[in-house]
């Protein structure tokens, strides 16, 4: 089983969100970057589990500058075998997908696993674009993946429950909660990650969209505190003031 896992970096969840240059650029100074949680917890760990049970290899692919190398080393420490970084600072999903599909084509991968979205742009676009560019089947929001020969059994979140889908390999999927449990890298993993191959390739692709401006939501008004002994008053306010019930 030859598995490619798409790994993106993302600002740590607790980061202060601010923008510079008239709202055009995310203020990254002082921001701690992490492996995008959906890529790490769900896609990468499930890829490693499948390799452990079926044999094969796990390669990670990241589109970004050398600033991404620490999160790529983290993915290697968790258990990926090798990594590729496509050396473009991306601004759009079409651009990222073109670069990943360009890299993955004719490499003999059986599975391309992605997190369901990144926690910065919340796009959820790249995985299906890669599938279309490669003309492979695709499942979004997969919560379970088993592989039996050339057929994958996948569960996905669907309105009101889960759907079971059978798909032929090769396959692209985006992983959501349930797919795997977070793995903390051990000391041996961290040490071995330093010597695992991290290949850097150049590339070129055009974005199809462009963020013109980021804005912060208006500050939240003060919380209206209702005394516990008048809890019933809350229900009146929800109906008459907030008009939500």
């Amino acid at each position: 089983m030859k598995i490619l896992v798409c790994v993106s970096q993302a600002p740590d969840t607790t980061s202060r969100i601010a923008f510079t240059e008239g709202g055009k650029v995310f203020e990254s100074s002082g921001v701690q970057y992490i492996v995008n949680p959906y890529d790490e917890w769900y896609a990468l760990v499930r890829g490693i589990e499948l390799k452990e049970s079926l044999g094969g290899s796990v390669t990670t692919v990241t589109v970004g500058s050398a600033a991404c190398d620490p999160v790529i080393r983290k993915a290697l420490a968790i258990g990926a075998d090798d990594a590729v970084r496509l050396d473009v600072d991306p601004t759009d999903a079409m651009q990222v997908a073109s670069l990943i599909a360009g890299y993955a084509t004719d490499k003999g991968f059986d599975l391309i696993l992605c997190g369901k979205e990144t926690i910065d742009h919340n796009g959820s676009i790249v995985p299906a674009m890669v599938a279309e560019m490669m003309d492979w089947p695709f499942i979004a929001l997969a919560s379970k993946l088993e592989v039996n020969g050339r057929v994958a059994s996948v569960q996905r979140e669907s309105a009101g429950g889960t759907e079971s889908v059978e798909v032929s390999l090769p396959l692209v999927l985006s992983a959501a909660k349930g797919m795997a449990e977070q793995r903390i890298p051990n000391m041996r993993g961290i040490m071995s990650a330093r010597s695992k191959p991290l290949l850097v390739e150049s590339g070129q692709a055009e974005p199809a969209t462009e963020v013109q401006e980021f804005t912060l939501p208006p500050p939240k008004g003060a919380c209206k505190i209702i005394p516990a002994e008048q809890a019933e008053e809350l229900i009146r306010l929800l109906r008459e003031e907030a008009k939500v019930i």
């Binding site: 969840t13 299906a128 979004a140 009101g160 199809a208 306010l237």
Partner: protein, 314 residues
């Protein structure tokens, strides 16, 4: 020039996300002075309520397809047929699969999870898990938009749409749906679609105490949810977990009892229109994100709220 809405069906009805996509497409078409056309695959009664959302025509593909690659081919053919420059789809598992595939197929720029109509060439979406918004320009002649659930609403003041059959070459099936398991047997609205949500965390002290949460949810017609620790230790099922690594929701009302409001939890719920927090700790960070708060014991407060809702309803 027209606007295409791609609408998935469930049990012979458009999904809620599909109706939202149709409503968005119709409103956008109206702002451009053109028509909106919906595309479905399968069979519906009449126009399936799509006319009410404001679309003028429904293209009906008889195949009942679910495969994302087939849908992208069908959507691209329909867009070509009606001369669509913009395509609108839901931002659920269906739209996240079909939308990007179609964008690649027709060479469109895609903006996902939009929350408002495009205006002056820009469309707004939430980024950084609701902590910021981005105004995005599409650099191609064609655009694909997926609509954030519960952000735009379903219009009901349209008329009746005409239906006409539509066919296209869609290729082979590679993704075969084999079964569906309902998440809950009690008829609750699924969490991503719920308008009202009652959620609880470790402050409830144990799974045996969830009756008071379920009672309030039932009285309100709300869906139950929980925090990550509660689903991790198995007090509640995983599909109820809202937060950064679980489900992101955007209900009209989110009531959180016994949840401190860690930033990872807020990332999944901070786009709710109204947030109510009930916590014994007045310093709980969740109060800073709340519209209404009660500093008190959930075991006393929740039953009083339930009684108040029942009194209001009777």
């Amino acid at each position: 020039m027209s606007v295409l809405a791609i609408v998935s069906l469930k049990n012979g009805q458009p999904t809620k996300g599909g109706l939202e996509a149709a409503s968005y497409a119709a409103a956008y078409a109206k702002s451009l002075g053109t028509d909106a056309v919906a595309l479905i695959s399968g069979s519906i009664d009449g126009d399936g309520g799509l006319g009410a959302t404001g679309v003028q025509r429904v293209l009906v593909h008889a195949g009942g397809i679910t495969d994302s690659s087939q849908w992208a081919k069908l959507g691209a053919a329909a867009g070509l047929e009606i001369g669509a420059d913009a395509t609108v789809i839901s931002h659920d598992h269906f739209g996240r699969a079909v939308g990007p595939r179609m964008a690649v197929r027709i060479g469109a720029g895609m903006v996902s999870g939009v929350t408002a109509l495009p205006k002056s060439g820009l469309v707004r979406k939430n980024v950084f898990s609701g902590k910021a918004m981005a105004d995005v320009a599409v650099k191609q002649a064609k655009a694909v938009y997926s609509v954030t659930p519960n952000a735009f609403g379903i219009a009901s003041d349209g008329g009746v749409a005409t239906t006409e059959s539509f066919d296209a070459e869609v290729g082979a099936v590679r993704e075969q749906v084999v079964s569906f398991h309902a998440a809950s047997e009690d008829g609750q609205v699924p969490l991503p679609e719920a308008d009202l949500v009652v959620s609880a965390g470790r402050g409830l002290k144990g799974p045996e105490n969830w009756g008071i949460v379920e009672d309030l949810a039932q009285a309100l017609g709300a869906t139950t949810a929980c925090s990550r620790p509660v689903s991790d230790i198995g007090w509640r099922p995983h599909h109820e977990h809202v937060g950064q690594t679980g489900i992101t929701i955007r209900p009209n009302l989110y009531i959180a009892a016994g949840i401190s409001g860690a930033i990872q939890h807020l990332a999944g719920v901070n786009q709710s229109k109204v947030i109510v927090v009930i916590n014994t700790d007045p310093e709980a960070p969740f109060f800073k994100a709340a519209d209404y708060g009660i500093v008190g014991d959930a075991f006393e407060v929740l039953p009083r709220l339930t009684a108040a809702v029942r009194a209001l309803n009777s």
